[in-house]
Amino acid sequence: MIDDSLDRVLPLVQMPSRYTDGEWNARHKPHDQVALKVALAYPDTYEVGMSHLGLRILYDILNARPDALAERVFSPWTDLEAQMRQAALPLWALESGRPVREFDLFGISLPYEMTFTNALNLLDLAGLPLASAERSDEHPLVIAGGPGAANPEPLAEFVDAFVLGEGEEVIVEIAEAMLTARGKGREATLKALAAIPGVYVPSLYEVAYDGPRVASVTPRDGAPAMVCRRVIEDFDSAPYPVEQVVPFLETVHDRVTLEIMRGCSRGCRFCQAGMVYRPARERSVEHLAQLAGCAVRATGWDEIALLAFNAPDHSQIEALIDRLLAEHAPGGVNISLPSSRTDTFSVALANRLSTVRRGGLTFAPEAGTPRLRHAINKPVNQEHLLAAAGAAFEAGWNRIKLYFMIGLPTETDEDVDAIADLIAQVHARGREILGSERRGRLRIGVSVAAFVPKPHTPFQWWGQVEGDALRARQLRLRERTHLRGVGMEFTSADPAWVEAALSRGDRRVGTAIRRAWELGCRFDAWDDRFNAARWRQAFAECGLDAAFYANRRIPADEPLPWDHLSYGVTREFLQREAEAALRGELTDDCRTGPCTVCGACDRAGEA
């Protein structure tokens, strides 16, 4: 919806169709006929947010209810923000054009920590007081969820309630609780929400500190001592959106997204998603084929992306691909596997998909030595990796990507040097197979991320390697890699440091986030927008030692700020895994090996 005030502003900003609504499948429901109005926000640009599956799922579920409506909100780019502030134009929801503050519920998806300042900015642009305690019955309830809420404590001051875990069922329970509590006021509504499993109302918990450390977290007014995340038991029949909104703009994932699997049981010890979305669950081929057909007809997209943590882990992946190719390839619809752990099997799969169009292939060995790959529980065998890369070159790919991580727990210079060796070996294999004719076209893109310790993972106790040391290791690797056709890209140490400080932060870190926002931090996830000096200033002004949060090795017996929040995996399991990492011991994938007794599902200890 574009009203006159918006029409005055849009000609002055870049990419105005981010803000206009009117896309195919956008839902417009009359506000006066619906009891519960929800604004669903994603704290990044339209192109990024429209690619987010969680938002699409919630949008679909809420709009399917006759008593509710959901509309979309994204972060305005800085040019529009300036115009909005100048014209005193409050943040609006796209579909109706109405101000967000007129809604009952303002839901914010938190993809990860670097969107926190954008989340605060959304509250402010909507004209809401930032602090939860300063908001009243006139304001919408602010509820946040998503992977960035794995440790929600840094945002506890600003958000009324957090959803832990998967949203499909709990969103309905929240909607119903809000409808029932209508007119009873904020306090009563929040207490009702706190009674829903998976909903964490931070104002009902008192945090006591022991110097810089958290000493204890005490619930009040009957709030549960431990909030347990939600997980969809029957994933195959969980609601799935087929009438997905089709943007005009080219978004990050501009295609039908088909979630074939959720969760991963491989147990890489640095990976938060692999820990908090357990157990691994699949949708059936029959159901997926049906969803894909409906989605292609309803959207007109010419690509179906099979979404999973690792698509080739789906037990019926070959049957699924055969079925989708048979049904969609004749219509010119491409099938893609955007995220897969590339091995020889997946190269073969990718090769079959490329009958329609050829995408890139990514190999993620993460670490250079077998020792470190064992410590992180990602035992990619060097020979297998070379064989898989070789298979890709033989099948006609000239361009592949390699992902590594630097600063992993127990990493030494030897491990860093081994990354350079591994790159050189893949490069040599590529040149050998491509031969003199294609050799010139060989491109190996190497991405080197910085390790960020994440809550609810076995590596949550380890500190991030301090900035200068991290930069030294990056330099060491760069100096050892001078090969034709190899491009290297490193995550900067500074944003990684902020991410680490926020991810392991307690409630006091919230003041630094607020200060950083006041200093102008926006779009911290964007390299060209991130400003390390402002973040340093923010932490310093708030009297907080960022290194305490980011770089410290936390003793195993110390209470953690997120100890009262459970994502299924138990602290005992994480501790066992941390010890196994030090011994360089592998833990099996429970889908193929014995149960690891992680705590994420009911069948603990069986078989």
Binding site: E250, T299, D302, R358
Partner: protein
Amino acid sequence: MQQIVCRLAKGGPAKYVSHLDLMRAVERGARRAGLPLAHTEGFNPRPKIASASALAVGATSEAELLVIELAQPCDPLEVKDRLNASLPEGLRILQAWAHPAYKQKFAIGEMDIAEFRITVEGPVDPERLGRAVADFLEADEFAVARVKDEREKQVNIRPFVLALDVLESERRRAVLRLRVWLSPTGSARTEEVLQAIGIAPPGFRVAVHRTALYASGHSGKQAKQRLERMLPRRSAP
């Protein structure tokens, strides 16, 4: 193979959709409509949908031309109805006709004259506006600065303006009709022409609406000769 020529209206929220995005929206609409689209050959087959000159972002139109190639012949009226049921808000096919198969292909690239209706709101002085328009038309040359590749370049837009009329003018509002030539070597942008007659944001609010798009019938060579004739007689005594 059949060519369906469509005249498309663009308005509402869709007026902010860029040309490239518009083409993608039409392509997806055509897929949803289940039209038997013809595709290009090769490794990365694309539906064969072509358009005439791009419209500026923010402008509305009742005269966007599209040529959609179909693999099997269809009734153009049915194509129009099916597309209209499948296009997003603000995009609407007003007319669709089948280009006769015995003729040469519909040469959408030859659409080189665009006509606009421009509504201006702001501190309009009818007398001054009339004079500014007359002065502009009188002149042989009007140079505007364009930035290309971070370098500023002077462009004479006058030869590309075929007609400029004041249809209505009162104290706060004026309506103009502008006809520009989309020549092989360049054209005049509506905002440049408006700037030439003293109308520019933020003082003025401007709504640009394309009313027609047609072919001059000149071939490329003729067009070039015509452009040379129209260029200012700079060296004349």
